[in-house]
């Protein structure tokens, strides 16, 4: 089954290769991986979608936590979450076929972000199935997709859930006298995986 992990890591060189090397070592295939900034300075946020049996999720998480730079992991697939992907599609289209494409784009809430004499570019955000839906319609309508780029999934839990690790980091940074013990304690509390 597909697991979606949100992993908060320290933003340091080599962290990405440590994470991907771990999946390779566990013989788990990564379907998609996105990395970018999080709400906290020096903390990056990865969304990793991996295909593995249900009972392997525990081991993947436990092994990820053994990496020194990994701060927190959330298996968001187990919770109600917003999962989005962005796709750019360059489609072959001349003046006579454009209007049909504009209509399709509207149905899928895609935006036209580039227009050239023989092609146009669509930007589409949504779930993977929505993107795949558009791709399918395009190919069944005999449009030629010249290029496609997809970001892979990003995920965020719904509701007020926030990262307790990052909370703890922020607290210690803003409270000068709290010291490292608090940090350790807070981090440990983050352990409780609901």
């Amino acid at each position: 089954m597909l697991h979606t992990f949100v992993v908060l890591v320290e933003d340091r060189p080599g962290v990405l290769s440590r994470v991907t090397s771990l999946f390779r070592r566990l013989n788990v295939n990564i379907n998609s991986l996105t990395v970018g900034s999080s709400e906290t300075v020096n903390v990056s946020r990865m969304t990793i979608v991996a295909d593995s049996p249900e009972d392997r999720a525990h081991r993947i998480m436990a092994s990820l936590y053994k990496l020194e730079e990994v701060l927190e992991i959330d298996d968001v697939g187990r919770h109600s979450a917003v999962i989005r992907e962005l796709a750019l599609l360059k489609v072959a289209a001349g003046p006579e076929t454009r209007s049909d494409l504009f209509q399709l784009a509207e149905v899928f809430r895609a935006r036209v972000v580039d227009l050239a004499p023989e092609s146009l570019m669509l930007e589409l955000t949504g779930s993977a199935s929505k993107i795949e839906g558009l791709v399918q319609i395009l190919s069944e309508s005999h449009y030629e997709i010249l290029e496609m780029a997809r970001t892979g999934r990003m995920a965020m839990r719904r509701g007020h859930h926030t990262s307790r690790v990052v909370d703890a980091l922020t607290e210690t940074r803003t409270a000068p006298n709290s010291g490292g013990a608090l940090l350790a304690g807070k981090r440990k509390n983050a352990a409780v995986l609901d």
Partner: protein, 593 residues
């Protein structure tokens, strides 16, 4: 480059002077100063271009440097040092081939969770990534075989990285850490402030958990079990839970089976100690596990060599798994009550809540499974003119009263050692378990002897594995180390030959081994030696080695085609053992069940 490479301070002899106040030091000096501050006394290493600045500064520091003959030896020595003493072992190498030579030793320490810190030199930061002479991406190469590694290319980062390396190596589930330091970082200077370089406190694995609910479940399982067995692993040594495990066994009258690495974690002579489990474990140990209704796994990881086929492993048993690494829970064997955390702490919580119990019925059952095997002593068997490895090992055990640190290599002799040398004291057996690294014994013994100079140290190695690292004989000679070496010489790569005999129709492809005269080899190094071909000569030669001040090598020419019994073939169930053919009563006299 900020400052040039000249020594920034003059008198650095006392450890406290270095670490007490901020001082301007070169990176090279900072490496050693940090080690001194971390309590390091001995390092194993080999100099070279990219680590030369560090070696140039070494004489100013109160550190003993042992020059090895190959960097693999340095890593194994650091490993043996750590296993014998419980302190972090340190290996130092140059860049490129020096660093890649460490790799086997690092992987070995990773598999057996041994705390070592390796420091490798690296080419200057300005040429990093240009395929410079002796440049290799050692942090990339060692990424999957270290707990963590660092590439340090700024002088001011050396002390913090190295201090964090020591913390990571020894915390939680221990393991190797590599710190790669560029040459310019060693040459430049910066303010060295040992206290300010302290890493943040160790962050325990967030998935640890031994809540009172789980402890209660464990206690309930312990209370109701009729046929419990404790599985004693390496974690007992790491956690220092020797006494707690013993108390658990004694108060609840539970028999104890040991993994290979757990052999010295429970006294061999203790009446509750069954012996080693697994592929070459004694029959009654494996039968006890298969018939058990409760397994209490203490700091072990259900390796394939101890479980046999997972589908048939201990089918009637509930399982309590006390383990510090959450990634080990349910990895191979599904457990009923995982207690994830430090073994000693968990047992200290559990023991006061546990009621004593009477285990005599189950212990009686196991005793009857032992049959006449329980009283075997091959010293009592008549001499039939053959010299068996078991004789040799049993005699070394008798003569040393088991009061020695033994480092073994990998193969048949390793299993015979596990069967015939009774380990009473923690950390008295040093062997490569997980990775199974031939060539480990000799350098590991050097590490152990340097760590514990007052202890008698023996190497037990096969003729094959010994030759993988035999140049370290020169290290022994140069350092004048009093180490006794027993080569169990059967003219074959014995364990591979045994597999060929059992599973490949005796096709002894590439296993017959012609070796040099090991006694002459020892002599060439200035090390005394003797050949032994008869059983009657074993004890006197062992005594000669023991009374000789300095290293002594004994080449034991043993039976060539002897095999280790019992043996569970790969994939078979734990109780489906290959037993010694009955026409050969030696070595294993346990009756067929």
């Amino acid at each position: 480059m900020s400052d040039s490479g000249k020594s920034a301070s003059s008198n650095l002899s006392a450890a406290d002077a270095i670490t007490s106040q901020p001082t301007r030091l070169t990176g090279a000096e900072a490496i050693w100063a940090t080690m001194v501050g971390e309590g390091v006394r001995d390092v194993f290493g080999y100099p070279g271009g990219a680590i030369l600045p560090a070696y140039d500064a070494l004489r100013k520091f109160p550190l003993r440097h042992i020059l090895v003959r190959h960097e693999q030896g340095a890593a194994h020595m650091a490993d043996g040092y750590a296993r014998a003493s419980g302190r972090v072992g340190v290996a130092v190498s140059t860049s490129g081939p020096g660093a890649t030579n460490l790799v086997t030793g690092i992987a070995n320490a990773m598999m057996d969770s041994v705390p070592i810190v390796c420091v490798s030199g690296q080419v200057s930061s300005k040429v990093l990534g240009t395929d410079a002479f002796q440049e290799v991406d050692i942090t990339g190469i060692t990424l999957p075989i270290t707990k963590h590694n660092f590439l340090v290319n700024r002088t001011e980062d050396i002390a913090p990285a190295l201090r964090e390396a020591f913390l990571i190596a020894k915390s939680g589930r221990p393991g190797p850490v590599l710190v790669d330091v560029t040459k310019d970082a060693q040459q430049n200077s910066a303010i060295f402030d040992f206290a300010a370089a302290a890493p943040p406190p160790y962050r325990p694995h967030p998935m640890l958990g031994a809540e009172s609910a789980s402890i209660r479940e464990a206690l309930e399982l312990l209370r109701t079990a009729q046929r419990p067995v404790i599985l004693a692993g390496h974690g007992i040594l790491h956690s220092g839970a020797f006494e707690q495990v013993r108390t658990l066994a004694e108060r609840a009258q539970i028999p104890v089976a040991c993994t290979l690495l757990g052999l010295s974690a429970f006294p061999a002579s203790h009446p509750l100690n069954l012996g080693m489990m697994g592929m070459h474990g004694e029959s009654w140990v494996n039968h006890a596990i298969q018939q058990a209704d409760l397994l209490i796994a203490c700091g072990m990881r259900f390796d394939d060599r101890v479980t046999g086929s997972l589908a048939t492993y201990a089918p009637k048993a509930k399982k309590i798994h006390i383990e510090i690494d959450p990634a080990e829970i349910n990895k191979n064997v599904r457990v009923d009550v995982p207690l994830v955390g430090d073994l000693k702490q968990i047992l200290e919580t559990l023991l006061p809540l546990m009621a004593d119990r009477d285990g005599s019925a189950w212990l009686g059952t196991i005793s009857s499974m032992k049959g006449n095997a329980s009283v075997r002593d091959i010293q009592q068997l008549p001499d039939d003119g053959h010299l068996y490895a078991a004789h040799v090992i049993n005699d070394i055990w008798h003569e040393t009263n088991g009061n020695a640190i033994v480092a073994t290599d990998v193969g048949q002799h390793q299993m015979w050692e596990a069967q015939y040398f009774k380990h009473e004291e923690p950390r008295s057996l040093i062997t490569s378990g997980g990775l199974g690294t031939m060539g480990f014994a000799l350098p590991a013994a050097i590490g152990a002897k340097v760590a514990c100079p007052e202890k008698e140290v023996w190497v037990i190695a096969g003729d094959g594995g010994f030759q993988m690292t035999s140049p370290e004989l020169a290290t022994i000679a140069q350092e004048d180390l009093d180490i006794n070496i027993a080569i169990v010489n059967n003219g074959y790569l014995g364990m591979v030959r045994q597999w060929q005999e059992f599973f490949y129709e005796k096709n002894y492809q590439s296993t017959p081994l012609r070796s040099p005269d090991f006694v002459k080899l020892a002599d060439a190094h200035g090390v005394r030696g003797a050949h032994v071909r008869k059983r009657a000569e074993v004890i006197e030669t062992v005594e000669a080695a023991r009374s000789h001040r300095g290293a002594f090598l004994i080449d034991f020419h043993v039976e060539q085609e002897d095999s280790v019994y019992p043996m569970i073939p790969t994939g078979a169930a734990l109780h489906e053992m290959i037993r010694r053919p009955s026409n050969n009563p030696l070595v294993e006299t346990a009756t067929e069940r």
